[in-house]
């Protein structure tokens, strides 16, 4: 560790992993992050664990809409279409 004052500690690094993934770091911050990873087994593992966590979340599926709600929304749509059809007839009528 040649520049201790400038270096990221492990405690700080774990708080900015999402910034790192999202690309919201400056070039200097990113370089500092990468430099730390290059020297630190623990942080390399935790960053990898975050990747695996994201991957695991990606395997979940979104909730399904219930049949009841689905049909209720269909009714909303049909009622809306019926009223717009009527108003179009009215506006295009004599």
């Amino acid at each position: 560790m040649s520049e201790p004052a400038n270096d990221l500690s492990c405690r700080e690094l774990v708080e900015v992993i999402t910034d790192y993934f999202d690309g919201s770091m400056s070039d200097a911050e990113r370089a500092r992050f990468d430099r730390h990873l290059g020297e630190c087994t623990g942080c390399t593992r935790v960053v990898q664990q975050f990747r695996e966590t994201i991957e695991a979340s990606g395997r979940l599926s979104e909730d399904q809409v219930s049949d009841e709600q689905r049909e209720a929304m269909r009714d909303v749509f049909r009622r809306w279409r019926a009223t717009t059809a009527t108003s179009e007839q009215r506006s295009s009528g004599p």
Partner: protein, 217 residues
């Protein structure tokens, strides 16, 4: 993968069909967006029934407003924003203004890792790991995809403060971009990132516990 925003031209086609009053296009959106619309509405109002009512109102707003949709945000973002606007107004009318902290969690400034995992001040390597975290790559490949693992992830997400839960669902379960999530949930760039990071850190910690317990038994 969520299919409501595959490509710009698919989305344009969907918008055109909706404008033309195509029921299949409408139901396609209901199937994909209804559950998250209800969850978002539920953050601001007192009951599930009111949340469902708001979603109906939001769909009507979508149908009436689709002619004015300009595609400056994605369609799904625009729809979710309509829901949250109606829900917020309704929540206020109910005399229930929900403080941001109760949705986001009141621990946003706290460290996401237990401070005991790092060496304390005064130690030579202060701020560095006191014990090096385990290597998950030593686990069998299928372990991460196992049903028990996924149920740990699911149940952890379900117990997060609602805004953290919704951000991680949209970002990591459904693959939305950070710009879409910020827009849909009306969050600043920083808040979106902080919420996502806290959510991910909690899921990671739950998995770590699960894997450690397993290794010990």
């Amino acid at each position: 993968m969520d299919a409501t925003s595959q490509t710009a031209s698919d989305e344009l086609e969907l918008v055109e069909r909706l404008r033309a009053g195509d029921e299949d296009a409408f139901m396609f959106l209901v199937d994909r967006l209804q559950p998250m619309m209800v969850r978002v509405a539920r953050m601001y109002v007192s009951s599930q029934a009111v949340a469902e009512e708001i979603v109906q109102e939001a769909w009507l707003g979508v149908l009436k407003g689709i002619g004015r949709f300009e595609g400056r945000s994605s369609l799904r973002t625009w729809i979710l924003r309509i829901v949250s606007n109606i829900a917020k107004t309704r929540g206020q009318r109910e005399g229930r203004s929900v403080p941001f902290a109760s949705l986001a969690g009141d621990d946003l400034d706290a460290p996401t890792f237990d401070p005991d995992r790092f060496l304390g001040p005064g130690e030579e390597w202060a701020g560095h790991w006191s014990t090096v975290p385990a290597d998950w790559r030593g686990m069998p490949e299928e372990r991460l995809a196992a049903t028990e693992t996924l149920s740990v992830v699911q149940s952890t997400i379900d117990t997060l403060p609602p805004m953290q839960a919704e951000v991680i669902r949209l970002r990591d379960v459904l693959g939305w971009t950070s710009a879409e999530v910020r827009n849909a949930l009306d969050l600043s760039e920083t808040n979106q990132r902080v919420l996502l990071h806290r959510a991910r850190a909690k899921v990671r910690a739950a998995l770590e516990l699960e894997f450690t317990v397993e290794a010990e038994t």
